[in-house]
Symmetry: C2
Subunit: 234 residues, 2 copies
């Protein structure tokens, strides 16, 4: 199955951009008449036929469209402090896309060793995972934002924060939330959130969660949360 990401598709025909066309003709060597699949990142899963093999602009004719393809039954937004080693966050966004996530926000907190994130690079990783795992919905990646500014944004749904500070009782996600909801979950940096940052979130209505006894790296904790939320919504 050959999948192309076509976010700007409209109507019954589509022309692949130069990069995708070159990949299609020069690398995959797909001839005219080949049936391929397209995803638009908004739930559209297309079956299309190659009608022109111009290596700079491959022409496609849509044969069939499925809307809301594998629509998710909940909405998961994870806001995570980017790791010092960006590979770890790239790894997280790839795996979260495979397992199922809707929105990701890099948050810059007091102890974040990394203050800058190349969103375009992370988006490429997400798009690649979308195609590899056959997702019709493309997770939304927001620009990096400061922790304080992020907490000022409105969010309707279940709000949780993962931190390692021994303050107050923490409970498992399964004890804190109901299935089929909107979830926003905060994951701290390598050095954890400061107690002020935790207090700020608690005052905003975030509930503290525990992922168990294991000491997890930032990106592992974020993926564990992604796994648990998807598990609870099966």
């Amino acid at each position: 199955m050959h999948i192309f990401y076509t976010p700007d598709i409209a109507g019954d025909t589509y022309t692949l951009n130069e990069e995708e066309s070159k990949h299609c003709i020069r690398v995959l060597r797909l001839p005219v008449g080949t049936v391929v699949n397209l995803v638009d990142g908004r739930g559209g899963f297309y079956t299309a036929e190659i009608v022109s093999d111009n290596p700079k602009k491959v022409g496609l004719s849509v044969l069939n469209v499925e809307r809301e393809f594998n629509k998710r039954n909940h909405y998961l937004h994870i806001a995570v402090a980017p790791t010092k080693n960006i590979d770890r966050i790239e790894w997280f966004v790839e795996k979260a896309t495979e397992l199922g996530i809707d929105e990701i926000t890099p948050i810059i907190s007091d102890r974040s060793e990394r203050k800058v994130v190349k969103e375009d690079r992370l988006n490429k990783v997400i798009t690649s995972a979308v195609k590899q795992s056959i997702k019709a919905y493309h997770p939304k990646l927001n620009e990096a934002v400061s922790y304080d500014a992020f907490l000022k944004l409105p969010f309707e749904g279940e709000k949780l924060i993962a931190h390692c500070i021994n303050q107050g009782e923490k409970r498992y996600i399964s004890e804190l939330v109901q299935p089929h909801q909107k979830y926003l979950i905060l994951i701290g940096p390598e050095g954890d959130f400061t107690s002020d940052e935790v207090d700020l979130a608690l005052n905003k209505g975030f509930k503290p969660l525990t992922l168990g006894e294991n000491r997890l790296r930032t990106e592992t904790a974020a993926l564990a949360v992604c796994f648990e939320i998807n598990y609870l919504n099966r």
Copy 2:
């Protein structure tokens, strides 16, 4: 907290090897009198004091020992086909160690693109994760073995196989196993197991599992299994 891995510790004193000693004195710059922690990989968690700062052989005096530190309540053995890109398997063993795993076997199946695994390299990754996540038990990494030979080995416990072939009914792990057991779970290569390989496992009593509708990469499926087994044993 500074943690050193000391698999050969015996008695009340210990001398770090040259590499660890150099790290301790030249990098961490820990002076005599500093209290550090040691894990022996067999459940022993030690509190020790630096009594000699020789940068080639740091002397430690054990102050306290905890046996069966954070002993796990189940036994998880994952046998996974190594990925073409070894980074993906290195990533898996690191994350599985953080989340909790007891034994890992690389299995070479018909469609494995990679036939050779550097166990010493993978073991270094595991040891590093053991220290980072404060584990007193060091997961056991077996040498790579052919799929057929592996299935001839005896195993007492719950046996599952993850594959994508549409043959027979598959169920979720939670429907297939009980908590607090020994589990052996097979994960196929990028190209999946062959139907002959699946039949062989089914004839050996392995039950087919599903991880849901997502199409997961080999290393993601292996980690998802690790997540689920640990989740079911909380």
